[in-house]
Structures are given as C-alpha cells and as structure tokens.
Assembly symmetry: C2
Homo-oligomer: 465 residues x 2
C-alpha cells in the first residue's frame, strides 16, 4: 500500500493547456490517417473523457477517426455521447456493432441509442437483438418521447415484503452468480412488492446493509414511496426526484405493477437538457443550435430573427405615425430609443424571473396574484427612480422642462407595462399549455417597443408641439 | 396484501385547484390564529411538501405560523427549505431548537443551517452543540463558501482494502447497533482505504451486496475513483458528478486522507442554483431577486437598469451626431431602430449559446476558434438573408433604392459585429476569470445599438444626402 498510488490524489480538472496539446496531437494523427497513434492517444481514457474528446472534434474529424479506429466506439462510449453526436456517429457503424452495444447496455441506454437510428436501420438492428432485448426496446419505444416510459430501465431489484434481509442478500448473490443478466449495472434501492408485483415500499441498500439478517423487509422498509407512471413527462419526473431527493424511483404499468426503474444519473442529464432548452428558447434559438455547422446555426436562429424583424417593423410603423413631430423636434428621435430600451430591459428581467420560478415551481397558482402585484409595484418604483434620473439628464442635455416631463412620464408608463407583460405573458403561455420560455421574449419586447415609442411620441405630440 | 394499498398508486403531481383550496384554508387558519387547525392541515406531510407549502406563504404569514405552531419546524423541514427562507425563519426560533436540529441532521445539512445564522447567534448555537458536532461545524465553516469543503458531510463509510465482504457488512451492522452515529443517513458507496486512510478505490453498495462473502474488497473494488479536494468550487464538483455519473464522491484533506463525502442529491440542488444564477445574470437581475418583497425586487434590478440607462444614453449620443441627417430625411428615424433591434437579437442568440456551452464545458480552448468562425459566418449569412428582406421592404415602403441599399449594408455589418461580440464578450470575461453570464448582455447590446445606429446613419449621411 504505497502512498504514491495515483488514486490517492484528487481528480484533476482538465487543464486547458495540456488539453490543447492533446487535441492537436489527435488532429494530426487523424489527418495522417494513423489509427494506431489515435488508439494510443485515447488508450485508458474513461468513457466519459473519451466522449468529451470526441464531442470536441469537428464532424469531419470524427468520421475519419471512426473509419480509422472503429473499435474505439465501445458500448459505454455510445452511452456517454450526447444525442446529437450519437445521431452523427451511428450511420458510420455496422449494424452488428450497434446491436452488440445495445445488448451490453442497460435497457434505458440501449433505447437511447435506438432512438437515434434512422428508420431503415431500426428494423435491421432489432432483428439482430435477442428476443428479450427486442421486446424491451419495442416496449420502451412505444412510449412517447420525453416520458418516464422512455427513460426507465427494465432492470431493477424487487423483493417480496415477507423476505428477510438474509434472503434478499442471498437472492442477489445467486442472481449475480447466474450471470446477473437481470440485475441493473448499478442500483441503490430495492423495491418491496406484494404477490401481485405492486410496490409497497422501498429499502435503500444502505439500510438493508446495516440491518440484522433476520429482520423482515416489511418491518424495515420505507413506506413513503414515490411511484412514477410511464406517461409522466420527464420534466415532471425530474421535479419529483429533486423535491424528494430521490436516488431511484420505480415505474409502474397501467395495473400498478412494477415495470421499471429510473435512476438519478439520468435525471441530472434531463435537468441540464431542460436548462439548455429554456435558455435557448428565451434567446430565440431553436434546439438545433448546438450542432457545429454554419448551416445548422443559421437554421436554428433565422426563424426567430424573422419574427423579430416583424416586431421591429411594427415598432417602426408606430414611429412613422409621428414623422411630423420628429421633423419639428429631432430630439425626439434622439431620445426615443432610451424609453424603448429601458422597457425592454425591465420586461426581460421580469420575464426571466417568472420563467425560472415556473420551472422550479416556485410560482404556482397559490402565489400568482402576489407575484403579479410585486412585479407591477417594483416596475412602478423603478419607473419613478429612472424617470427622475432620465428627466434630469434630458433637462440638462436639451434644456427643456417640458421634454424632461414628457420622457419621465413615458418611462414610468412603459416600465409599468413592461413589468406586467414580463409576468403575464409567460403565465398566459403556461395557462394555454405552451412552453412559457418559447416566444415570451418576442411578445414582451414587442410590447415594450411599441408602448415605449407610442407613449413618448404621442405625449410629445400632445404637449410639446 | 390488498390491492388497494395507497402506495401502489403513482405519486400524483400537485394539482393546482386542490392546492389553492389548501392554501386558502391555511391562510384562514393563520389569520384566525388557530395553531391546531394549522397543525391538522399540515399533519403527515412529507418534509419536502411542507417546505413547498411554507415557501409559498408570504413572509408575514410564515412568521405568524411559526409563532402559532413552532413545533412544525422540524430538523428535516429546515434541511428542505431554500436558503433565503431558512434565513428568514431562523431568527424566529429559539437557539435550543436550532442546535437540536443541527445535532440530528447530517453535518452538511447542519452546516447549511449554521451559515444562515446571524453572527451573534452562531456562537450561542455552537456552545449548545456536543463537542464533536461543534468541531465538525467549525471545520466545515473554515472552508470558503461554495466549495466542496462546505458541501461535504463528515459521515461516510470506509473499509480497509484487506477486509472481506462479510467483514464489511458485519462492521456496518455493528455500527448500526451501536446507534449508527457515525454512519451517514444514506450512503451509496463504500470507500476503500489503505492503513493511512488514503482512498484506493470504491465499492458501490450494489456490488458489495451481490458479491460472495469471502471475497476481499481489494479484488472487487472499482479503482477509477473520483477524489475531490475541499477547496474545489461547487460548480466544478457538479461538473465531475455529471461527467462521471457519480452518486457519491470522497473528499480528501491536504495529506490525501479521506475526510468527507459529497452525495448526488446536493449536486442536483447546486446545478439548479447555478442555473438560476446564470439566467438571472443574463437578464440583469441580482440574486436577491427571488425573495418576495417589492423592495428586494427593486434592489435586485435597479443596478442593471442603471447600467442599461448609461448604454442607452451612449446610443442616443450616437444618434444625436446625425440630427441634421434625420431632419432632412425623417425615414432614418423610422428605420434606425430596426437595424439596432436585429443586431441585439443576433447578439443575444450568440451570447446565450456561448454562455450555455461554457457552462456545460462544450466550449473549450480546443474548439474556440471553430466556434468563433462559425458565429461570424452564421451572422454574415443571416445578415445577407435579412438584408435582402429588409432592403425589399424599405424599397416598397419608401420607394428609394439608395435607402434600401444603405439599410441592407448597415444590417449585414451590424449582424456581423453582433455575432462576433456575442461569442467574444463571454469568452473575454471567462479569460479574465469573471463570470461570463454577468454583464455580457449589457456589453453586447451596447455594441449592437451603437454600431447599428452609427453604421446606418453614417452610411445614410454619406450616400443619401
């Protein structure tokens, strides 16, 4: 037991400078078409490391690498890669390699790979699977995308409630000696069932482990079990995991019989994916935005830029109604973007807080009224503060009290509308069952632009000219 | 074993309509000052449920509730509440109640409560703790905020590498019979150590459970252990958990000796917190923004509104340089916000994708150049597409080819700058060690406003008038 064992040192985070050298060497080996150098560069890497390196390559470099060293694409690597990358990699693999990987992995990981196959290849790969694995994949694939049914694995550990601790442990040892085919690779809880396979409770392995061998499961199990329906949306599944600090949860079929298990490592991935979805939606980027080609970047962003163009033209149209006023007093053209910009910022602030509070379920029907009131009041307070500041600046800049009063009034009104729109628009989308993150930004900034320009220019027209 | 056992049904998600009735009843009981009704309404709720209900109340209602039924504030409830709420609740509790809760909880949860205490009360509460608990709290508190040291619990299970499976299980049973003080409430892995307490590997409980009793830990342990230093930032800890699909990880002291454990349930919380931080930072809201008073809402948002005001004035100043041109051709005032708005949108899109890619570590020094090139090219392509559209609309609207060409050229140039700024600004912040999500938005929109107005108005001045 030497003190120098590598594992006694803390795991280093990737160092940017070391990493670049490695990446350069890898790129060179790929360009040189040298499969053996590639293999030696990537030997002994953890599948998660390997997946990271793989994802950093351009898609062309990735294809060449696979041609040169197809054996590097292990089942565990496939399970670690992001969906978009798996989709690119699968067409480069032989069907046998894919079905072999699916046989080796737990059923949830196998299904994730299956999802990314083209329609033609799905049949081919299914035919290569053992009949049990085929059935599992088909059953899982029958559930809607992004549901618990798609997410769950069919391997789990269940024990009848009348078993003792000793019997349970012995059962697992026997299963393991028989090859462990039906045991999950990793599990954290044992589900306790009645004779009809209905879950009654669960037992964390840490409790089982420290319990006296003669105790009966029924007497030591935890009864507040969180049971999940296969049709439940993955976002709701993640919510239950977070709320109840779950490590795993059982999934039941229509008759309430135990049929699968979801584990927390999949949930962490879902939480990250949902975050990415929310952030991109708020910024007006479609999901394709993460693949690394110029074409996909343009496709992901152009649609929302087009919507933005329409709303910008609407705002311009409002301005065009006041051409005469602007010709008479060009200061209006100078100042009007400030009112719109402050409104846009206030709206985005309120909107983002609301979207986040909806996602974390802190904003619920129980406190909606309070939240709306708070946004409206906060917007008025900020409106008054910044009206004073901007009014002062306008007075100093243009020497006109009337202009200062007009811009101050327009600002208060626009910030009030912005604060309200910022919370009401996402709540409205939520109410009609749409994703509040998508399209909310465009709606809110349209309101703040149109109201901002209109309030300022029409007040100026009425009181200044 | 009846089929109607409640636990065989899937866990329902909270139903909004039921929830509102419950909330109303709770509010009534609080107003009526009836502690017993409150207790009966909240009886048998899971601590996580109770925490949710608690967080939904206004701070005044919460204070009254605690006065009426202080016994509802159980240790587990305190562990479930969000930090901001704990901070509000603690001053309402007696020091003895707090120290008792801390004694009962695992050391990481106890430390989280301790962090939210006022300075004066910390000493008072520490004095009430047992000497071991006091030492643990003091040791944890000595680490910087948001580090692994603050996050870890000091209860974990370790076994020497020469023990057998049987010895290990028996050790845990004995510990448990002795009261289990040193065992964590829940654990998922056993860390295998040498005689110097240096970790050599780990064994998931599921492996221990299914292994033959006579096997020696050394021969069955997993050696690719992820070991964490106490000074590691919690964001980096979360990254390691995600990357390697960890359920728990050991923390070592300066001499590489095992000193604590971090579990995945804490990581899920951190991922959520970091995400909230990023989203709010992008929208220009300080963290206080989630507490429910108007004053805190204003304080959280006014600073960034002030910065936005300065940048909006800078853009106005640019416009003011072209007063004469606008007086001569008022169409410029009508059209100029479109150029700025399209740039702002393009910049925000690029920025959000970059921030997210930095957070998930998909954007690294290894692919930065490629990402910058992609953003620049995509911006040019979108610039050309929308230049054609906007040029056409301008021609139809104002009947001027020259005006159409000028706005098209300004748009291409502004979108190009927007795309570049959208990726270079966050990368720049990252490079100097600042949080790329904070302040990036303001920088990027300043660029797109200033460049947009300047490009359009100066081109118009040079070629139209």
């Amino acid at each position: 037991m030497s003190k120098t064992t590598a594992t006694t040192e803390a795991t280093p985070l990737p160092r940017a400078d070391l990493d670049i050298e490695h990446v350069d060497a890898l790129h060179e080996a790929i360009l040189a078409g040298n499969g053996n150098v590639i293999r030696s560069l990537l030997a002994n890497e953890h599948p998660a490391e390997l997946a990271d390196r793989f994802e950093q390559l351009s898609s062309e470099a990735r294809s060449t690498l696979i041609e040169l060293a197809p054996d590097l694409i292990s089942p565990l690597l496939l399970a670690e890669l992001e969906d978009e990358v798996v989709e690119n990699v699968l067409p480069l693999l032989k069907p046998e390699q894919i079905s072999k990987a699916m046989e080796e992995l737990d059923s949830d990981d196998a299904l994730q790979i299956f999802e990314e196959l083209s329609k033609e290849r799905r049949a081919q790969v299914l035919a290569d699977l053992s009949s049990q694995d085929r059935k599992e994949i088909e059953a899982g694939f029958a559930f809607d995308e992004e549901t618990a049914g798609r997410l769950m694995q069919r391997e789990f550990v269940a024990a009848p409630d009348f078993w003792t601790v000793r019997q349970t442990i012995e059962h697992m040892r026997t299963q393991s000696e028989l090859g462990g085919e039906n045991l999950p690779d990793k599990f954290f809880d044992i589900y306790i069932i009645d004779t009809h396979f209905h879950p009654l409770g669960y037992l964390p392995l840490s409790t089982l482990m420290r319990s006296a061998p003669d105790l009966v499961l029924k007497d030591i199990m935890e009864r507040n079990l969180t049971v999940i329906e296969p049709s439940l949306d993955q976002e709701d599944v993640a919510y239950l995991f977070e709320k109840f600090d779950l490590i795993s949860a059982p999934v039941v079929d229509d008759d309430g019989r135990l049929s699968g298990m979801i584990t927390v490592d999949d949930i962490v991935e879902i939480i990250q994916d949902e975050h990415t979805e929310d952030m991109l939606a708020l910024a007006g980027v479609n999901e394709a935005g993460l693949v690394d080609t110029v074409a996909s970047t343009v496709t992901a962003r152009a649609p929302w830029l087009f919507v933005n163009l329409l709303t910008a033209i609407a705002a311009s149209f409002v301005i065009s109604l006041f051409k005469e006023e602007i010709e008479k007093l060009v200061a209006l053209a100078v100042l009007m973007p400030i009112v719109a910009s402050m409104g846009g910022n206030t709206g985005t602030q309120a909107l983002t807080v609301a979207i986040r509070a909806l996602a974390t379920r802190d904003l619920t029907p129980a406190n909606t009224t309070r939240a709306i009131r708070r946004e409206a009041l906060a917007a008025i307070v900020n409106g008054l503060i910044f009206a004073a500041v901007l009014g002062g600046i306008t007075f100093v800049w243009f020497g006109s009290t009337a202009l200062a009063v007009v811009i101050a009034a327009a600002l208060v009104f626009n910030l009030f509308c912005a604060g309200l729109a910022g919370i009401l628009v996402p709540l409205g989308f939520k109410k009609i069952g749409a994703d509040p993150a998508v399209a909310s930004t465009v709606f809110v900034t349209t309101v703040t632009d149109v109201v901002g320009f209109f309030a300022f220019l029409s007040l100026a027209g009425a009181f200044l000219l």
